[in-house]
Amino acid sequence: MRRKLTPYLLALPGWAWLALFFIVPIAGMVSLSLTSGNIITGFHQTFNIGNYTEALNLYSEQLFRSLFYGLSATLIAIAIGYPAAYWIAFKAGKHKSTYLLLLLLPFFVSFVLRTISWKFTLSDQGIVLGTLKNIGLLPTDFAVLNTAPAVVLGLAYNFLPFMVLPIYAVLERMDHRVVEAAHDLYASRLQAFLRVVLPISLPGVFAGGLMTFIPTTADYVNATVLGGPETTMIGSIIQTQYLVNNDYPIAAAITFVLMAVLLIGIFSYARALGTERVMEVQAK
């Protein structure tokens, strides 16, 4: 009897934590998203579904933009992060940890500071664009800041470690002899990669994708620092509604809309990649 209970008892702190810091606040927010009123007169529970329709009507543009930016940033992070992780895991030999550290070093600096330094780097007369303009390689009115690419690149850069680390972890843990086995069984280097390394590392790409896509879609710092009025993301809207307009119900409603959209996205993503297969390899 005691044996049977032990796992549940051990899980108790975890459950308590979840209840206290996840379920309770979420329930509070759900309730808040259905209230009416304003910050001065107070918010009253009216089960006002209107908050949701308003959120969708007013901010669907920013919502879709955010999803698009998040997806683009995630794809860029895969394109940069996968080769980096692959190289460190397979080619860096005994210097693996050095390269990992070098990769992570910039991220010891605060997120906001890092983004601001990007702003300086990419500014119209900054070290990169200024130089290129001075030597005539770029037209003088060329700008990166305040454009969608600036925001997307900022997002991809800021969340790169979340992509690299999970991919690196699977590649590192994988038995490197299977690559030789593939060569032995007549696979070219490309075939060995496509048929063996890539499928085995998919769980890492899956995890990295989630860990990049979710925070980039909800991010507002990059859009605020690197973007302009045309690149506002849904995170900025939520932040403004909360902290500037103090319209808590709308802010809460947008939050849940975003959450629902992300969940749908994640589930379709998991289905497309075949979670079952992904999880199975991971469990091994």
Binding site: R177, V178, A181, A182, H183, D184, Y186, S188, R277
Partner: protein, 396 residues
């Protein structure tokens, strides 16, 4: 050995005939060396190899850990490029050919199965790369899984198999391609004794049935002796001796081989009274033994004699035999046989295995601990040992 050969066009060379047959060797290494550089250190993994492996042969590379067995095999498979020398498969120089273009397959020590693919997909991998037709692939997979007795397991993942089953998948995955040679790197090392013995018989059966050349790496001398047609005993990157299991066991060529294969007694002395067909060897303890090999007067001689070739007795043996006197210091009764340890005057210990043809339960005071006994053996049963590997330059 007279293997019943089936299903191959090329008849395997009779292994006992040695490497001097007319046919082109299936695998041939000439003057192959391999050095690795790690930091400032240079590691000689393979010192100098000249090997010819005949088609259809079960050939073993046997030696202690680190002697270069895996490196040799990886050079045959194409994963390592020899520092010098030439690798040939069926006479074709493949030294610079990539592994995926070599018609040999390897069974890895760790199996290296593809974890994301099912058993059947693992086995199909090589055939798919070779663009074999789907129907043909299916037929060959079924046939191969049947051969390794994994008939109903095609849909399972490697993680759902036992160690022995994984081993057989690895074997099937390589064999299904019908390579010219199969390279097996300690394929049974991870299995427990019972399973290992069962798999040894299984491997030997499969090799006989399909007649493919097997190159088998092992550091287990028993495994090599029971399975192989020929064995290359390696040490420190060199081949110490090449021969059939019986040749290697009965006539060890070097000190190392005598010590590594089975138990052997080592005696040292100086040659005396050489004749046309032998000599006496005056042992360091002062006694004389006979040897059937040529020696020159005064030459230092190391000789070896296997424990089971020695007869233990209380009466003085025939003068035509090698004979020494000593004191029994230890006896171990093993039922069918008894192992004696006998000490000579100078402290040399000699191990003797004696079949228990007599009933020893009544009284055995004659050869019990502390008794003075005679040991004798035929001069042709002791062999001179050399120090340095035959193939290459002398190496400590």
């Amino acid at each position: 050995m007279g293997d019943p050969v089936t299903a191959t066009t090329e008849a395997p060379a009779t292994p006992t005939a040695g490497p001097k047959t007319e046919a082109v060797p299936a695998i041939s290494l000439s003057g192959v060396t391999k050095t690795f550089h790690s930091g400032r250190e240079t590691i000689t993994a393979v010192g100098h190899l000249d090997l010819d492996i005949e088609a259809g042969e079960f050939f073993s590379l046997l030696g202690p850990s680190g002697c270069g067995k895996t490196t040799t095999m990886r050079m045959i498979a194409g994963f390592e490029e020899p520092t010098t020398g030439v690798v040939r498969l069926d006479g074709d120089d493949v030294t610079d050919v990539a592994p995926n273009h070599r018609d040999v397959n390897m069974v890895f020590q760790s199996y290296a199965l593809f974890p994301h693919l099912s058993v059947a997909e693992n086995v199909a991998f090589g055939l798919k790369r070779k663009k074999v037709k789907a129907a043909e692939i299916k037929r060959r997979i079924d046939e191969m899984l049947e051969l390794v007795e994994l008939g109903g397991h095609g849909k399972r993942k490697p993680s759902q198999l036992s160690g022995g089953q994984r081993q057989r998948v690895a074997l099937a995955r390589a064999l299904v391609n019908q390579p010219r040679a199969l390279l097996l790197d300690e394929p049974l090392a991870a299995l427990d004794l019972k399973l290992r013995q069962a798999m040894q018989i299984e491997l030997k059966r499969i090799q006989r049935d399909i007649g493919i050349t097997f190159v088998y790496v092992t550091h287990d001398q028993g495994e090599a002796l029971t399975m192989s047609d020929r064995i290359a005993v390696m040490n420190g990157g060199y081949v110490e001796q090449l021969g059939t299991p019986a040749e290697i066991y009965e006539h060890p060529a070097t000190r190392f081989v005598a010590g590594f294969i089975g138990t052997s007694n080592l005696l040292t002395g100086t040659a005396a009274n050489p004749t046309s067909d032998g000599a006496e060897v005056r042992l360091d303890c002062g006694q004389h033994v006979l040897i059937g090999q040529r020696l020159t007067e005064g030459e230092r001689a190391d000789l070896t004699v296997r424990p089971e070739k020695i007869t233990i007795s209380t009466d003085a043996p025939d003068a035509g035999l090698s004979r020494v006197r000593g004191t029994v210091t230890d006896t171990v009764y093993l039922g069918s046989s008894t192992h004696y340890t006998v000490r000579l005057d100078d402290g040399t210990e000699i191990v003797v295995y004696q079949q228990n043809a007599r009933d020893l339960s009544a009284t055995d005071v004659t050869t019990g601990r502390g008794s003075e006994v005679w040991l004798s053996w035929r001069p042709s049963h002791s062999y001179l040992l050399s120090d340095s590997p035959q193939g290459g330059p002398h190496r400590a």
